[in-house]
């Protein structure tokens, strides 16, 4: 069973549908005990970092996620959920993340050529940086769907794929049992579903 952490941020409809579609058992929950019982955890999120991070601490779910991560449970953050796995975000100020991955979230604006549009919206091909069990069913160059204005930097340790948008932007990360996608696998057609499937099938990674 996979827990999708429900902490009142964003719309989980498509994410839940995509797991159902690939035949995975998911439980959408905000109950710490339920989350502890599940084998894997998905941390979703759209919107602003500060607001989402606050909701995670207000509900106490941040502590549960950190504890479960330390116990070696596979956790995957998606979009803003991935960004929150890092140490810090500089989205409108400076905010502490969950600190499960080394690196910080910075605005694209200061980093990519000014003629490029922000947010980075659309399908962009993946450039692989490291092998990962997440890529079991996909190949380099497969396109995934992005919608974001901030991205993870200083994360050489965990980056497994990037996408080129003026500069190479962090697209997917993995370090031990912690995984993350900046893009939306639930909106990336068969490629995205294949990534979710690979995550579901993954053996315990300690």
């Amino acid at each position: 069973m996979i827990a999708i952490v429900d902490y009142g941020v964003g719309n989980l409809f498509s994410l839940i549908s995509s797991f159902k579609f690939i035949g995975a058992d998911v439980l959408v929950t905000s109950d710490p005990n339920e989350i502890k019982k599940c084998d894997k955890i998905i941390l979703p999120g759209v919107g602003a970092f500060e607001d989402a991070r606050k909701k995670l601490s207000d509900t106490g779910l941040d502590k549960i996620i950190i504890e479960e991560a330390k116990r070696g449970k596979a956790i995957m953050g998606i979009c803003l959920g991935m960004q929150m796995l890092f140490e810090k975000s500089y989205e409108y100020g400076e905010h502490m993340g969950l600190g499960l991955l080394k690196g910080s979230i910075i605005p694209m604006q200061d980093y990519i050529p000014s003629e490029l549009k922000i947010p980075h919206i659309g399908y962009n091909p993946l450039i692989f940086k490291k092998q990962s069990p997440l890529f079991k069913y996909i190949k380099e160059g497969d396109c995934v769907y992005f919608v974001h204005s901030y991205f993870a930097s200083d994360c050489e340790e965990s980056v497994i794929a990037t996408a080129e948008y003026g500069k190479e932007l962090t697209a997917a990360v993995a370090y031990k049992n912690i995984f993350g996608c900046q893009f939306h696998p639930e909106k990336s057609g068969d490629v995205g579903l294949s990534i979710l499937k690979a995550f579901c099938e993954m053996e315990d990674v300690k």
């Binding site: 549009k117 399908y123 396109c143 579903l193």
Partner: protein, 252 residues
Amino acid sequence: MITKRIIPCLDVKNGRVVKGTNFEGLNDVSCPIELAKYYSKNGADELVFYDITASFEERKLFTDILCKVAENVFIPLTVGGGINTVDDFDRVLKCGADKVSVNSGAIKNPMLIKEAAMKYGNQCVVISADIKRVDGQFMVFAKGGRENTGMEAISWIKKCVSLGAGEVVVNSIDTDGVKGGFDIELLKLVCEAVNVPVIASGGAGSIQHFVDLFKEIPDIDAGLAASIFHFGEVKISDLKKELKENNIRVRL
């Protein structure tokens, strides 16, 4: 680098796709769910669902169908038609829509764009504008292209973007239905005026028209069409192959 998007648009009334279709292998050509799956499987990058129903009961049917589509199709879904309030945004987003397109609703109340963008983020709010040349000027039309609003198109679009619209759909009334190609002149002006994705709509009659669009306006993000896809005149897979051969980046 980001790929150019190809977007079929489906007009839905009473739970059915309005324009006729003739696809091989599709038993029910006007079933929105079947058609959405078909398009998704054959290379559509995104789908637009346009709710052209009027009554409350029909609207409920539309959202039920939207849920069914979103349960089965995993590419971005945009919904338009009858969006006048933030509650309307909420109604369709809960059913799995990713973006909501506003047209007349924003003309009546431009602050709808700002309210929705604050609540759901700019990426969620799409401004769709019906534009026609009147005495050499591009004007915004309302009520499905029947009524001249008296507003100049480029300034209207700029205003919408400054209020928080994260994407612009430009429907050229002059080229729509003619199948003589997209309105390059108008689209160029819009692309120069805003720094958010611009989607071209109205006028596509052949694969070559899409090639021309992306070649002549490198900044354009997507091409949208309805009948040429529905009638099978252009297959999205063929279209994408041709774009690729012309060195235009596409998702294959």
